[in-house]
């Protein structure tokens, strides 16, 4: 499972990464968490509001700082 956090580096994106790491840990998943701050890549996802979260290449949330539980719900689906 590949989890990507899309963001240009403001505190929200960092917090989203922390929350994602916590969610993955609690669910005991083997997932790779990647932080994408390169603008070209972020735009290529079609995302308009950061921070955004992508799982296995699909954007599942954009413009929201999800907390750990909300991320868990998404990962379990």
């Amino acid at each position: 499972m590949k989890i990507e956090i899309l963001g240009t580096g403001c505190s929200k994106c960092k917090q989203l990464t922390v929350n994602a790491e916590a969610a993955v840990k609690e669910l005991n998943l083997s997932a790779e968490i990647v932080k994408i701050s390169d603008l070209d890549k972020i735009i290529s996802y079609g995302v308009m509001t950061t921070p955004a979260l992508a799982v296995n290449g699909t954007v599942v949330s954009s413009g929201k700082l999800l907390n750990k539980d909300e991320i868990k719900k998404i990962l379990v689906k």
Partner: protein, 326 residues
């Protein structure tokens, strides 16, 4: 009828009754202001953010983009863009993805700018906090001028064919399938919606709260400790240069509009003219160095200068008009 009278009474009670601080003393005024404003703005914030959560649910960015791209509004798209900019907040880190997203969808540069200029200028604070702080007349005037500045600014940028100043390499990036609006296909019951809005609203309130308290702290300090003569000497003389001065003073910095309002309140209380204070606040909220650095990645400096220049001139204009009227 001042609905915040009970809050003022409570603040008075705690400051003078519980802490036994003398009224009209430095600390008395400061603490009183602090308690009163923290509670008042806090309550307003909770209500406002609940309303904003509702709006954001029905108007996610993807829908805004589609709305602006799909119809030819016979020239009214500038106005629509400005109005949508009012109701849709976004963090300035999103400026670029948003900018590219709009342009990529075929929305004209000028219309995109009407949105970009209006968004920080007119927002839920200037619409809903202002009436409680400064009265309806100021609120209406400020917001109307804000929209006009955004629309005219957008049109000007379009007329100047400023597209040539956009770093077009970024526009050519192939984007994956349009990001679907998050809530499509999921239907929530009324009760679920109500609690969803509450959680979303409180989430934002909680995020803003520390900054708001900081702003109230600064405002309280000004209210309690800054002598009126100091203010009268330098700012309340409605000298022509005080407006450009505060505009340029506030430009490099950024603070959340909610945090700056108590500072403004205190300034106005000390005799700073309303227009000057509003100019200062608007400049802080709309323009900042971090924002410039971010936008520089996607705009050549000519366009950035145009954008900031128009915004600054609009802000100063607003200040002069308000000072002339009030």
């Amino acid at each position: 009828m001042d609905i915040f009278k009970p809050v003022q009474s409570f603040a008075d009670f705690v400051t003078y009754g519980c802490f036994h601080i003398l009224p009209r003393s430095y600390w008395g005024d400061t603490i009183n202001f602090f308690i009163y404003d923290t509670i008042k703005i806090g309550l307003l914030l909770i209500v406002i953010n609940y309303a904003m959560a509702i709006i954001r649910y029905y108007f996610p960015m993807e829908k805004v983009r589609d709305l602006l791209a799909q119809r030819r509004w016979f020239g009214l798209d500038y106005l629509l863009a400005a109005l949508l900019g009012i109701i849709t907040p976004f963090c300035s880190c999103s400026s670029i993805p948003l900018f590219i997203g709009f342009l990529g969808a075929g929305i004209p540069l000028g219309v995109t700018f009407a949105f970009l200029i209006c968004s920080p200028l007119v927002n839920e604070s200037s619409l809903y906090l202002f009436p409680a702080m400064f009265g309806m007349k100021v609120t209406i005037l400020y917001n109307v001028i804000g929209v006009i500045v955004s629309v005219l600014g957008g049109m000007l940028i379009q007329k100047l064919h400023a597209e040539k100043y956009v770093k077009t390499e970024l526009l050519n990036v192939k984007s994956r399938a349009q990001v679907e609006s998050e809530h499509e296909g999921v239907s929530l019951s009324f009760g679920q919606k109500a609690s969803f809005f509450w959680k979303e609203g409180m989430g934002i309130t909680r995020q803003i709260f520390p900054y708001m308290v900081l702003g109230v702290g600064v405002g309280a300090f000004i209210h309690g400790f800054v002598p009126k003569n100091f203010v009268e000497q330098y700012f309340s003389a409605k000298t022509w240069w005080s407006i450009p001065l505060v505009t340029l003073l506030g430009a490099p910095f950024y603070a959340n509009s909610v945090s700056v309002i108590p500072v403004m309140e205190a300034m106005v209380g000390k005799g700073v003219p309303l227009g000057t204070a509003l100019t200062f606040m608007t400049s802080i909220v709309t323009i900042s160095i971090p924002e410039a650095l971010i936008l520089k990645k996607v705009m050549k400096w000519e366009l950035l200068a145009l954008f900031f220049g128009i915004t600054l001139i609009g802000i100063m204009l607003m200040g002069y008009i308000l000072n002339a009227i009030f």
